[in-house]
Amino acid sequence: MTQFDPTDPAVAGYTLLLKAAFDRATVAAVRHQVGAFARRCRMSMDSLDDFLVAVNEAMTNAVRHGGGTGQLLLWRDGALLCQIVDHGPGFDATPYLRPHRRPQPSPTGGMGLWLAQQASDDLRIHSDATGTTISISGSLGSSGEP
């Protein structure tokens, strides 16, 4: 029996705006698509910039550490919710998500998820041996309704 997942956006009544597969070559194109939807939903420019930074880092993480490909789902309710799903080996996200401890800028990386968290209203990572789902929500503010 499939276990009910209370965090499933479809179950929670969100509307699916975009479902897109991505790999290294298409991260930028999918990022642009998310930007176009967020603008259409009248997300403020500052919120939109941050939302795209966070979404991009989650996709980049999937490409680099999550098996090279992933799927992005963009949902709308009162806010935008973006889920980035990969089927990589999974990882312990705890060390990357210490909000008050900035990683040392480094030529090799290690800052992506931390940056994503800093740029997000809310970022959650669910990861196990079957893959990783990063959920990022972005506020639409009072002008969110068309």
Partner: protein
């Protein structure tokens, strides 16, 4: 997509980055820097005025570039960032790390039309 044009000012080589610096385009920056170092240009300014997006891979490429310039006896500084690029540089601490020394901006404050045209285009 990223386009890099290079001009040579008295302060050193200026890399004008336009477009998006991300996982896919960051190797272009590395290649451009290789070219500069191979020609003995170790004092580099990255002009980010026309850069619309920068992510953590772009940040890593900038840090790697700065490290290599320093090892070659030179330096890499950033200038002109605004909007989301400035914010990402600020959040990650790179803005502070690679801030443009005021003395380096002498001769670089000219409007784009007054600058010499790019003598090399990469990307």
């Amino acid at each position: 997509m990223l386009t890099i044009s290079v001009t040579h000012d008295p302060i050193g080589s200026v890399l004008h980055l336009a477009g998006e610096l991300d996982m896919e385009s960051a190797p272009q920056l590395v290649a451009c820097l290789d070219d500069q170092l191979a020609h003995g240009h170790t004092r580099i300014v990255a002009n980010l005025e026309e850069l619309a997006f920068c992510d953590s891979r772009g940040i890593s490429a900038l840090i790697a570039a700065a490290t290599r310039c320093q090892r070659a006896g030179g330096s890499l500084h950033l200038t002109g960032a605004s909007g989301t690029v400035a914010r990402v540089l600020e959040i990650t601490g790179v803005a502070e790390l690679l801030a443009t020394d005021a003395s380096l901006t002498t001769g670089f404050g000219a409007a784009p039309s007054q600058r010499r045209p790019p003598d090399r285009l990469i990307g």
